[in-house]
C-alpha cells in the first residue's frame, strides 16, 4: 500500500483549514473561492517541484549546492589570504638559490664579518669561488668583491 502524495496531503490540509476558518467566522464563502485558492496552491507546488527537478539537491548538504556561487567565492578569497600570509616575510632567494643567508655571508655562519672577506679572498685565489659570491656584478670574483664584504662587515648600523 502506497502512502498518499505529500503535496496532496498538504492541499487536503489547506482545504480543511479553509473550511474550518469559514465555519469559525460564521459567514458564507462560495466554494468557488476555495477551489480558486486550492488551484493556486496546486500551481505553486507544481512550479516548485519543476524547479527542484531542474536544480538537483544533495541529500546531505542541500544548502551547499543551492549556494555554490557564494561558497566558491569564499574559498577563492580564503586561498588568496592564506597565500599572502604564507609568502609574507619570506626572504627572496639571492643568486645561487640560498634563501636564508645574506649575499655577503660567504661562510654561511649567519653573520657578515671579516671572516667572510677572508674566506672569499682564499676562494678567489684558488679560482674556486662560485658566481653567487660576485658582489659588484662584474662576473668575476676578485679583490673588489672581498673589499665590499669587508666594508659590509665593519659598517656602522
Amino acid at each position: 500500500m502506497s502512502s498518499p502524495d505529500p503535496k496532496e496531503k498538504k492541499l487536503e490540509k489547506l482545504g480543511r483549514a479553509l473550511r474550518k476558518a469559514d465555519a469559525a467566522r460564521k459567514m458564507f464563502v462560495p466554494p468557488t473561492r476555495d477551489e480558486a485558492i486550492l488551484k493556486q496552491a496546486r500551481a505553486h507546488f507544481e512550479a516548485h517541484s519543476r524547479e527542484e527537478r531542474i536544480r538537483p539537491t544533495s541529500i546531505f548538504f542541500p544548502n551547499l549546492i543551492r549556494h555554490w556561487r557564494s561558497l566558491l567565492g569564499g574559498t577563492a578569497i580564503g586561498c588568496i589570504v592564506i597565500g599572502v600570509l604564507l609568502f609574507q616575510g619570506k626572504n627572496v632567494a639571492p643568486r645561487g638559490g640560498a634563501a636564508k643567508f645574506a649575499r655577503e655571508d660567504v661562510n654561511r655562519d649567519g653573520q657578515v664579518d671579516i671572516l667572510d672577506a677572508m674566506t672569499l679572498a682564499k676562494l678567489a685565489e684558488g679560482k674556486g669561488a662560485p658566481d653567487s659570491f660576485d658582489q659588484n656584478g662584474d662576473r668575476k670574483i676578485d679583490e673588489e668583491d672581498v673589499t665590499l664584504i669587508a666594508a659590509a662587515a665593519v659598517r656602522l648600523n
Binding site: 664579518d113 677572508m118 679572498a121 673589499t147 669587508a150 665593519v154 659598517r155
Partner: protein
C-alpha cells in the same frame, strides 16, 4: 703669602684651561692570540662621551701593516668597528702580542680616555676562532 696665593691661582687656572683644551692622542691596539697564528680580527671600539676617532693606521706586523677596514662614517664619532685579515703570504702570521693598528683620538681633558673594546672575531687562517686578548696603550712619542 700673596705670592703663594698667586702661584696657586695660576696653577688652578692652568689646570682648568688644560681640562677644557682639545687634545689629540695616538693609541696602539695590540692583540695577543695566545700562541695561535692570528689571521683575522674584528674589533668594536667605543670611546667615552666626548672622544672622537679621527684616524686609523695599520700595525707593525707585515701582514697587518695596511690600515684595517673601517666605516669612514665612524670618524668624528665615538664608535668604530675595525677589521683586517691576512693571508700569510708576506710573513708568518703573528702568534704573540702584536700591534695591529693605531687609533688617533680627539678629546677634551688631561686624562687617558676610556675606550671599551669588544673583540668580535679573532681567527686563524682556516677560520678557527681564537680566544685572544686586546690591549690598548697610549703611544709613546
Amino acid at each position: 703669602m700673596k705670592a703663594r696665593i698667586s702661584i696657586f691661582i695660576a696653577m688652578l687656572m692652568a689646570q682648568v684651561f688644560a681640562m677644557g683644551q682639545t687634545r689629540f692622542l695616538a693609541v696602539d691596539v695590540f692583540i695577543d692570540p695566545q700562541g695561535e697564528p692570528l689571521a683575522a680580527y674584528q674589533i668594536e671600539i667605543t670611546g667615552e662621551p666626548g672622544v672622537k676617532f679621527v684616524g686609523v693606521e695599520g700595525g707593525n706586523h707585515p701582514e697587518f701593516r695596511k690600515a684595517p677596514f673601517y666605516d669612514p662614517k665612524a670618524l668624528q664619532g665615538e664608535r668604530l668597528i675595525v677589521g683586517a685579515f691576512a693571508t700569510g703570504k708576506t710573513a708568518p702570521l703573528p702568534t704573540m702580542a702584536t700591534r695591529v693598528m693605531t687609533l688617533h683620538l680627539q678629546f677634551r681633558g688631561t686624562h687617558f680616555p676610556k675606550l671599551q673594546t669588544n673583540l668580535k672575531v679573532a681567527a686563524t687562517l682556516d677560520s678557527k676562532r681564537i680566544d685572544a686578548e686586546i690591549k690598548v696603550t697610549e703611544r709613546k712619542q
